[in-house]
Structure formats: C-alpha cells, structure tokens
C-alpha cells in the first residue's frame, strides 16, 4: 500500500511567508499533521500546514517537484512515495510489502 505524500509548509512569524520545509508520508490528513509537527519540530513555528501533493497544481509540471496528476507510473511514484519501505517496520503495514 502506498501512502500519499503531504508537503509541509511553515513560518516562524505571522509576518513572513509560508515556506516549504519538507514532506511526510501519511495515510490521511490527521496523521500528516501529527507527523509534520513531530518531524519538523526543530523550530518554534508560528504556523505549519500540510498539503496533499496531489492537490498542488504546478504551473509548469516539467519543472516542478510537485506533480499533481498520476498519469503514469513515474508520476504516481512521485505523488505516492513508499519512502519508508526500508525501515523494517512491521506489524501493521508489513503485510503489504512495504
């Protein structure tokens, strides 16, 4: 089973723009919020957002890391990353060949 990728954006003050700080794999938005908050906690963020990679529409898909439409296998791998498959985890998702 592939988990969707959520892009993580944050800012340290209300005045500065949101900037892209990374991404997480998560099975839903609730877990993406938790994972983002717990993974990128080195800064005292004023605001953090997660956005499904599939919801981002690049103006120039050829130049963007954010690919929105899974039109072929290559793009599907970018929208949905196995990401943690080598982690060796276990008792829940392991049966699905992660």
């Amino acid at each position: 089973m592939k988990e969707p990728v959520y892009e993580v954006f944050a800012r340290k003050t209300r005045e500065e723009p949101l900037r892209h700080i990374g991404w997480v794999n998560a099975m839903d938005g609730d877990l993406a919020r938790v994972y983002a908050w717990k993974t990128y906690d080195e800064q005292n963020w004023a605001e953090m957002c997660v956005i499904p990679r599939s919801a981002i529409i690049p103006v120039d898909p050829g130049e963007s890391q954010f690919v929105t439409a899974a039109r072929d296998d290559h793009e599907d791998e970018i929208v949905h990353s196995r990401g943690t498959g080598s982690y060796g985890g276990g008792d829940v998702a392991g049966r699905e060949g992660r």
Binding site: A26, D30, T39, G83, Y87, G89, V92
Partner: protein, 283 residues
C-alpha cells in the same frame, strides 16, 4: 448578602492550602507524574520497528513529551514538601504509583495504539480537570502539556482507524482496547473518595471523577464507534453523553495510590530512575 459571591482566591503556594487537601493533592500529582514517566518508557520501547518511519519519529517525540510532562509534574511536588529529584531517581519499584496497566510492557503496534488512545487520553482528561485549578502552580503548567496532548490523541485516533480497517488485525486491536479501557476508567478514581471530594470542594480539581470519566468517554467514544469497537467494549452513546455499561471494579482499590495492588518491576523502575546514567546526573 450580595447577589454574587466573590471569586475564590487562588492558592499561590502549597502552604496556603487547607491541611486536609495537601495529601490528596500530592497523591494525585505523584500518580500523574509516575504514569507519565512509565508511559514514556513504554512508548520508547515501541518506537523502533514502527510500521512507518514517520510513525516511529512521532512515537519517539511522544515518549519525550511524556518524560517532559513527568518532569514538569514531579517538579510541582517540591512545593508540597517533596524532593523532586529524589522522587525521580531514588525510589524503589514498589513506590511507583503509575497506571497499573503500565506495569506490563505494551504489546505490539495495536497495544501502542490502544495505550495512546485510552491511557494517554485518560491522563490528559485528569490534567484537564486541573486547568482552572485554584492552586496556581498547577494551573500555570497544564496548558502547554495539553497542547502537546492534542497531537497524541490525533495520532492515536488515526492509528486506531488504520488498524481497525485491516481485517486480520481487528481482533488484536479489540483485545488491547479491552485490556486498557477498564484500567483507564478506573484510574480516574471515585467521586466519594474523601481526598478527591476535598480537592473538588476547594477548587483544586475542577470536576469530580465521574465528570472526568464522562469527558474521557466523550473523547474516545466517537473513535471507538467509528471503528466499530464501541459495542464490544460496552461503550454507548446515550442521552447527552457517552457511557460504559459496567462500573469500574473497585475491589482492592487504593484511592491514594490509584492502584489495586501489584507493582512495577525493578528493571523498569531502574530505567525510570535513570540508574545507568546516575553518575551523569546534573543538579
């Protein structure tokens, strides 16, 4: 006679508290601190081998949160005449007053999820009852802790949904939930325990145990219902709230220790005390 009563004054120091309130307050704070300390240990045992890297990172962070909450909570006991450092590092296993359910290791990811959903949330519910406490030192420290607990609950709820959706894992999850739910409900205590009554009368704890229990059930009930686990656990939505079919089993219950017997094992206590790093402890 006036129409409105003046707001009750805050207690800024434990020495201002009525004498018969200090012991039950100490009991409550120690039970919270020990439960947090041991829960953090149990989380840390599960963070490696988690289903995904992100889940492991979050579990690691939650374990650290729990230890931070424990330290913050132990520190409160200094005002009540204890030496927090001695409480953290010098007690034997039998002196720990953590949740009895945590005397045993957490079993697998279903156990981790059930503990996070039920035990962690029960502790958070009890802390919430201190949010508006008249005892200022407690009141001042609880909000940040509860802010962090919001993420623990989201994590637990999402993993409960995830595991419940896997047919071959449902029974195991149900068993872990059934193991922890009665312990969580019982740990919140009895309304008529003399010390607990005084804490509520003095506004130190803002709700009696039954109200905290109802709030706990209102928090976890929807998750259990959504995942089809509620009925098997005897949790039901009814009227304006959630209820549990069976009353907690109070046989052998010690209101002060919030336990009915048993003990943490010495090896786990040694880890909780930090024995291996004792020579490196800083003042």
């Amino acid at each position: 006679m006036t129409d409105t009563l003046p707001a009750a004054a805050a207690y800024d120091k434990a020495e201002q508290l009525p004498a018969d309130v200090r012991a039950p307050l100490r009991d409550l704070i120690l039970a919270l601190a020990d439960s947090k300390r041991v829960l953090g240990l149990r989380y840390s045992d599960r963070m490696l081998g988690s289903p995904t890297l992100e889940a492991g990172i979050a579990a690691s962070s939650m374990a650290q949160d729990e230890w931070g909450h424990a330290r913050l909570t132990y520190a409160l006991l200094g005002d009540l005449g204890d030496d927090p450092k001695a409480l953290e590092h010098e007690r034997s296993a039998g002196e720990y007053r953590g949740l009895q359910a945590l005397d045993r290791d957490i079993e697998g990811w279903s156990g981790m999820t059930a503990a996070a959903l039920l035990l962690d949330t029960a502790l958070a519910a009890q802390y919430s009852a201190l949010l508006q406490s008249r005892y200022t030192p407690v009141h001042n420290r609880v909000q940040k802790l509860l802010d962090e607990e919001r993420f623990h609950f989201q994590y637990a709820a999402a993993w409960t949904r995830r595991i419940a959706a896997v047919p071959e894992l449902r029974d195991g999850l149900a068993a872990e939930l059934a193991r922890y739910l009665p312990e969580a409900l019982r740990w919140l205590g009895r309304d008529d325990a003399p010390g607990a009554q005084r804490l509520v009368e003095e506004g130190i704890v803002r709700e009696p145990a039954s109200a905290v229990r109802a709030r706990f059930l209102a928090k976890v009930g929807p998750v259990l219902e959504e995942t089809g686990m509620a009925e098997g656990l005897g949790v039901a939505r009814g009227g304006d709230g959630w209820s549990m079919g069976a009353e907690p089993d109070w046989s052998g219950w010690n209101d002060a220790a919030r336990r009915s017997g048993g003990s943490l094992d010495e090896a786990t206590a040694a880890r909780a005390r930090g024995d291996l790093n004792r020579a490196l402890l800083l003042d």
